[in-house]
């Protein structure tokens, strides 16, 4: 298993990583989720050995890796732009990591066939990679990364260059391939939906630090900071003061299920998907936007100057400018 202890890295007096520690168990798929510039790609390059940390150490099965050069680590790394050999065939591309590992021609051939079958490109051996579609090229890159049976596979925004429909299809395939192989994987992305779908465990990164970690369901259900909540797409975060039995915000007193010290300043998240319109009770506001989203409709409400967004199913006929009252059924306190 992989262990990082207090990894730090500074570029041009900017601290990109601040004492990051994490571990990845065998067969686990861990996602690093964060905005661009949060340090996630730097972390990958340090793990791969392409860059040295300023402080901290990297271990595999309790053996330090710092002095092991990248080509002896047997870690795979795959990027957003597939970085294939543009002038070579599919088989030659997949063979590269097998050649460096000094496999015989027969071993190479068998493994290439196996890998292409795994990624759904059986029979593509002799195709020129330039004639393949974006999705097919990305599959070739995956086959190439998996061919040398890396102890750890790192995927850096692997689907970032593809359009939505293709991304969803490939994400499904990727999950199934990684799970079927029991491949230990670190997946880097800035897209929360990819992270939700593929991870056993998610690590939210911000400004060089891991700010929250846990299974996707847990992180989604209980974001622990305003940053995480907003990054996961929840915009209803408000400051308030703890009063008797809830939190007093600018627009309403909200009941919360956490015991808090009266008078303390805190932040609350109103879950957008758990609310209903009411005739008499709830937060009063004016509808400023109604936007159809397919399965749900997004309702934007101005409540005493605060903007609240809700994602509701089966919304009654409602128009911009209407006065409404809305009862949020889940309000969470997010520390700090």
């Amino acid at each position: 298993m992989l262990e990082l202890n207090a990894i730090s890295k500074t570029f041009d007096s900017k601290q990109v990583l601040r004492a990051v520690s994490l571990s990845v168990a065998e067969g686990e798929i861990v996602t690093l989720l964060g905005p661009s510039g949060c340090g996630k790609s730097t972390l990958l390059q340090i793990i791969a050995g392409l860059m040295q940390p300023d402080a901290g150490d990297v271990q595999w099965d309790n053996q330090p890796l710092v002095s092991v050069p990248p080509h002896l680590r047997n870690f795979g790394l795959m990027f957003q732009d597939y970085a294939l050999f543009p002038h070579k065939s599919v088989a030659e591309n997949v063979a590269f990591g097998l050649k460096t590992a000094k496999k015989t021609a027969v071993e190479q051939k068998t493994r290439i066939t196996e890998m292409l079958q795994l990624v759904g490109l059986s029979g593509f051996e002799d195709r020129d990679v330039n004639t393949l579609s974006g999705g097919e090229q990305q599959r070739v890159a995956l086959a190439r990364s998996l061919a040398p049976q890396p102890k750890l596979l790192m995927l850096d925004e692997p689907l970032g260059a593809l359009d939505r429909a293709l991304r969803e299809t490939l994400l499904d395939e990727l999950r199934q391939i990684l799970r079927s192989l029991g491949q230990t994987t670190i997946y880097v992305t800035h897209d929360q939906e990819e992270a939700f779908a593929i991870s056993d465990r998610m690590l939210i990164m911000n400004a060089g630090e891991i700010v929250q970690a846990g299974p996707p369901q847990h992180v989604y259900a209980t974001p622990n900071s305003e940053f995480t909540a907003r990054f996961l797409g929840f915009s209803n975060v408000f400051s308030g003061v703890v009063s008797g039995d809830g939190v007093q915000t600018d627009f309403a007193e909200l009941a919360v299920d956490t015991a808090l010290l009266t008078g303390a300043v805190t932040k609350v998240l109103i879950r957008p998907e758990q609310a209903q319109l009411s005739d008499s009770t709830g937060i009063p506001g004016v509808v400023t936007d109604v936007s159809f989203r397919g399965a749900t409709t997004r309702l934007r409400i101005d409540a005493n100057g605060a903007h609240l967004d809700f994602e509701l199913i089966d919304l009654p006929d409602i128009a911009v400018g209407d006065d409404v009252r809305i009862v949020p059924s889940k309000v969470q306190v997010i520390a700090n």
Binding site: N74, G76, L77, A83, F85, H87, F96, T100, P148
Partner: protein, 230 residues
């Protein structure tokens, strides 16, 4: 117009009749330029590749302007420097190479070399950065990485060699200086054109000009093909 038509007709007859003077000149041109290209690639390509690989990781400091200066060096200045070097008072004066094909090869090598270095360096540097990272993570040693990148840059490297060929075959100043334009010995296409034109032998001059133009065009077409293939 008549003079041009007469000259063109004469040129055509010289070319198809296999005029020995004409073919001596063509032969010497190809020998001189071919040898110069060989040496320029021999000494230039490895350096270009090494610099290209280095350059992926760090700035080269003053090396880049130096190479650019070499690539922009007027051939006649190169010829002048080689002339001084090979003159009786020069460091290599003892070799007695001045006014021989050897001097012309030296001068053309001098002109072609920075082009080979600079353009092959650029070709290596233009290979996708992520490909290099990717290959290292796939277990490539430094040597395997270098070989893979050279292979990826092979079209650019060939383009560098063809560009150098096109430059030196059409060049006059350096060869006229160090070769001296001695009939049958150091007379190549460009210098022969100058001499025959002065003598009023427009037919022979045009025949030589057509051959030179064809060689230059071949190089040009080759470059375009290579750039199209990328």
């Amino acid at each position: 117009m008549q003079v041009l038509l007469d000259a063109l007709l004469a040129a055509w007859q010289l070319i198809i009749s296999g005029d020995p003077d004409l073919y001596t000149i063509i032969g010497l041109t190809l020998r001189v330029t071919g040898s110069a290209l060989f040496f320029a690639v021999l000494f230039g390509l490895p350096l270009g590749v090494v610099l290209g690989l280095r350059n992926r990781e760090m700035k080269l400091g003053c090396l880049t302007p130096l190479i650019n200066t070499g690539m922009g060096l007027p051939p006649v200045v190169a010829g002048l420097l080689v002339f001084i070097l090979l003159s009786n008072q020069g460091v290599l004066g003892n070799l007695q190479w001045l006014f021989t094909p050897k001097a012309m090869i030296v001068a053309q090598t001098f002109i072609a070399w920075p082009l080979v270095v600079g353009l092959s360096m650029t070709a290596i540097r233009n290979v996708d950065d992520q490909l290099a990272l990717q290959l290292r993570s796939l277990g490539a040693t430094r040597w395997q990485l270098a070989m893979a990148l050279v292979q990826e840059a092979r079209l650019g490297i060939m383009a560098a060699i063809i560009a150098a060929f096109g430059r030196i075959i059409a060049e006059v100043g350096a060869v006229i200086l160090v070769g001296g334009n001695i009939a049958g010995e150091t007379r190549v296409l460009t210098t022969a054109i100058v001499l025959e034109t002065r003598k009023g032998e427009f037919g022979l001059a045009l025949a030589l000009g057509i051959i030179l133009l064809l060689l230059a065009l071949l190089a040009n077409i080759g470059l375009h093909r290579l750039q199209g293939a990328e």
